[in-house]
Symmetry: D2
Subunit: 345 residues, 4 copies
């Protein structure tokens, strides 16, 4: 029998952490050895998350306090599901102690500490690590993720935006200053944040835009678009909160540069035909979150509007899965030399 | 005591008709004298719509079959809440018999029978009436609505789009070829259409774009924008279906032409400061459907993004109220020389 | 023009208070003169509750701190929408200063301070007032409410339970020890309580019983049943939390004592045929919260099961309306000698 | 490599069939070889159910018309996910042709054709098969399911009711004539039935009882209770429709016969401590559908009310999983001599 990959999860009390635990418990080659949470320290995982009751690991393991040395000793890989700011503080001693770190927060997504300060309003706690961190979008950085010591999992909105947009940008098929993005997110996107605005009766039968015009995720979206375009790209982005649990729908407008239906289809097909988790929808189909909820899939579609000469790109992902936790597991698989789809299909 | 305004509702079996009946039953100066529905003919209104049980009119009136002569005799105003195509057929004999008609369908919104054919896929049944019909957006055509014989109530999406966009277009504050619109609608927007795609479990925990890239409402949106701009305007528009009952959120992007926060605010304030049903939100606030559900209000906000030099316009309306039924009542009030807010606040 | 009834609302930051303000703003004979909230003191009502934006009173009035002397001077009637415990403390000086008090909390619903302590876990803050308080269920205590100085509005579950059950109990039609009650409530029933368990993603796609087997509302349910039966009555009651905003569905089982469909129908008809806000559904109909949401109606139905000789009673109310705020306004109307339906239909 | 178990699914166009396909596609030892649907014949499975896109089997297999000979030849096991009435017609030739049949409809749940006629309003199409059919509740009939040729999977409500109730009934811990059951179900429980009452806007923000007082599932509930009690048992049962996709919550009242908390706990523990899919909740916990959605678990809890001497039993299952499809797979595992949890954890 193959030795299991030993992993730890730091900060498993939020939705991202709980979802990550869900994927890891179901993973055939992974063994969760430590789970930390200051809030729940001493309590069994199955007690805090009754959905995992009966699972031998969830019954056996109790939350502990974070201790970098212990974690690095017990686990080969440590997932950080703590808030940004904290993640940077935790990563440094973990890396120093030899652990490989997969961070679900925003702390290592940006290459520039200045951009971090601009968008997150605080100095970065471990700026010296930024240059080593790999942006954990496997479809983009697969080969760099494999040997990485520190992987920064992309934000949920950026994942839904970069996947459809990057190939067209790289192919020079769209006008770079014309990109307008609207995203809709389920409420788990806000995390398990106990605030009045996320109470059931404040979100149910409610829709609203927020973070207009400069949502934090713009920083990583524009960073990755600019890297692909080899020049600074600025885009418009408006997220909306919508009353469902899971899922993101993204709709992107861009002026086409000599694009046609065939050409766009060809570009996307070249990029994703062999990707296990990106599905190009059939003609006539449009992304719907119900088709990807609870999965690691990203569903993509596009339209070309001859009236306006614009390309419309549409995508759907599960914000907690391909947008967070299962994408982190996809990175883990790459880092372990496991088949990339292990535990994800 | 003042004589009541006698009204009839043709086709009150759908959501628009039911909502219209709700507003009319509560209207202090209106008396519903006839309600028609082929499907429900012979049944009492309170039986088909148990929410109206106990209301003396809903208990007294039964649905009848449509008969133009009878309706025109019994009522001064006839609302048409029938599907497009049928509305045009009904309107002609009603008008001939002297009734004033308020149509909630799409049949009389367009000035061109050709555009109607292009977007609705059928010849118009009463093209000779198109030139007399008034587009029933009171904030735009108040004075023309007052004496009108035939009012075409705007679509729900167009109402949410034209209100924020028209003033900026008229003021030449935005680039006319740069307008990109995303709308989110609750499921009543699809009407009480018995189709698998609108079943609870197909819509709940689901989000999806539809009608991409050429939704029917584009026809009236572009017509009214072009009239305001005095040149043909083409825009991008993508509606999305979202799991709640009522409400539309619209987010519009446009490149600014020497716009600034102050200037945009001034333009919108000039347009709407005295409008009883358009609310310009305070700084820091963004539209949320829960604040306008069940009301005739349209909530508007805007942002100027200095990074992109774009204006972002945001609006919220109730698709069944300001987007359909209560806006029709607002038109009725104008046509009756009643205070415009009667029965609406 | 008639002088308006001057009212104050103490503690208008929760759902009950907000809903009460909604009903009072729409009331034709009421003028809100003071609204208090420690949390929101100094802010305009329209700022805290953007749905009221544009309403002249909501724009004019700002929240103030509670001061009994000031309130009693400014208003003839003071509504208490503060937590239990606080309400008792507020009521004493208000009554002493001459105000008539309508309390939406649980503080004055029980006649016994001992029962209060048993169910609410604290000594009552003003036990000397319990004997003067009138239980504000108009269908039961209409004549006592009219002159009352202190009215205790019933809880939402009790309203949904007492209305169908009391007539059968009084008529001796059911076995008194056989009553089993199940209720389902929307999430606003929990109030605007900022706790993790009421976050959107914890309630959406979730259902659960709670407060088993001794929910606090049992105290007033059993008190009123016992008073009607002239002997102590004990019942079974289980509330459930269900993912919608507003509404309660109650289903009651009781063994029949020589009951028949005709007899039960006769008893309920005798009790409620002339009640403006209790609707006995037609044969074949069952209560549905969507028919009463936002209204002061209670919809009742019943079935007799010949297989088990049990009566099944079913009811639907809006927990925030007939279950709280509009029922309080119904009491106010009685206390003011206004027609009972003023502002409620 | 082990040979796969070849299965066919007849009638995979509804929610039960789709969910069954979902579980079977993920099953490590099962191979779906045929899927039938008159409505979708000729279309690929991935086309009708886009959530399965990318799965090699869903891409490879197209729906065919039902043909008993072909199915029995291609598959060792045939699941019937067709309406009751049709299932009985399909089962006969399948069994004759040597297939083992797992029926998800109600057709083979009852031992008496008379009871079938009473509750389903039609003569049974294959009454001679009733005596051979095994009621597919593994926790009750595990050993009979293993060799069965024809398994009738229990209804969703009965599964949620029988699991908590049977042990107490067998132990003579409750009064047999005192059982009152209330269940709450998500809307998928109604199947993918295209009817106005199941439209999103008719179910969202709605709750309602239905099927009062004699829902069809009573027939199998009372059959199994009576078999366990060795005398005829009649119970009260009221289902409610609640606005979520998946899940059933059941709350049962019964008068205790010398029961105590310890005794009830002991009885349930004896029954289920070793069951892989029944979870007895910890003290203080109550069932919540969100903990079992998408799983084969049944969560059980109980309370003893010393005030009324009643036992309250509470359960949660996923109506489409343990209530239908995954329970059918659990039966399949037993029939194949596979570990019972294969593909289910």
């Amino acid at each position: 029998m193959k030795t299991k990959v030993r992993v730890a999860v730091a900060g498993a009390s939020g939705y991202a952490g709980e979802e990550l635990v869900r994927w890891l418990l179901a993973h055939p080659v992974v063994e969760i050895v430590v789970v930390t949470s200051r809030q729940h320290a001493g309590k069994r995982v199955s007690e805090i998350f009754p959905r995992f009751a009966g699972h031998p690991v969830a019954e056996a393991i109790s939350f502990s306090e974070f201790n970098a040395i212990d974690l690095a000793q017990a686990a080969d890989f440590v997932f950080l599901a703590v808030p940004h700011g904290v993640a940077a503080e935790f990563a440094r001693p973990l890396l120093a102690a030899g652990a490989r770190v997969i961070d679900l927060s925003a702390d290592f997504r940006l290459r520039s500490a200045d951009t971090y300060r601009e968008f997150y309003g605080a100095d970065h706690a471990a700026p010296e690590l930024l240059s080593d961190a790999i942006y954990g979008l496997p479809e983009l950085y697969r080969e760099k993720i494999r040997p990485a010591k520190l992987v920064a999992c992309p934000g949920c909105y950026p994942t839904s935006i970069l996947l459809p947009l990057l190939p067209l940008l790289r192919a020079n098929a769209i006008a770079r200053d014309s990109v307008c993005i609207t995203s809709l997110s389920g409420v788990t996107g806000a995390g398990r944040k106990v605030a009045a605005e996320y109470l059931f009766a404040e979100c149910n039968e409610s829709m609203r835009a927020y973070g207009v015009p400069k949502h934090r995720h713009l920083s990583e979206i524009e960073q990755e678009l600019s890297l692909a375009a080899k020049e600074p790209i600025t885009v418009q982005f408006t997220p909306h909160l919508v009353p469902l649990n899971r899922g993101i729908i993204t709709t992107i407008y861009a002026n086409s540069l000599d694009a046609s239906v065939d050409k766009i289809g060809h570009i996307l097909n070249e990029a994703y035909a062999n990707e296990p988790f990106v599905r190009l929808l059939r003609e006539g189909e449009l992304p719907d979150t119900k088709n990807i909820a609870g999965t690691n899939f990203a569903d993509l579609a596009f339209r070309f509007d001859p009236r306006t000469r614009r390309v419309i790109l549409l995508s759907a992902i599960d914000n907690l899965a391909k947008g967070t936790a299962s994408q982190a597991v996809q990175c883990l698989n790459l880092m372990c030399d496991l088949p990339e789809t292990t535990g994800l299909l």
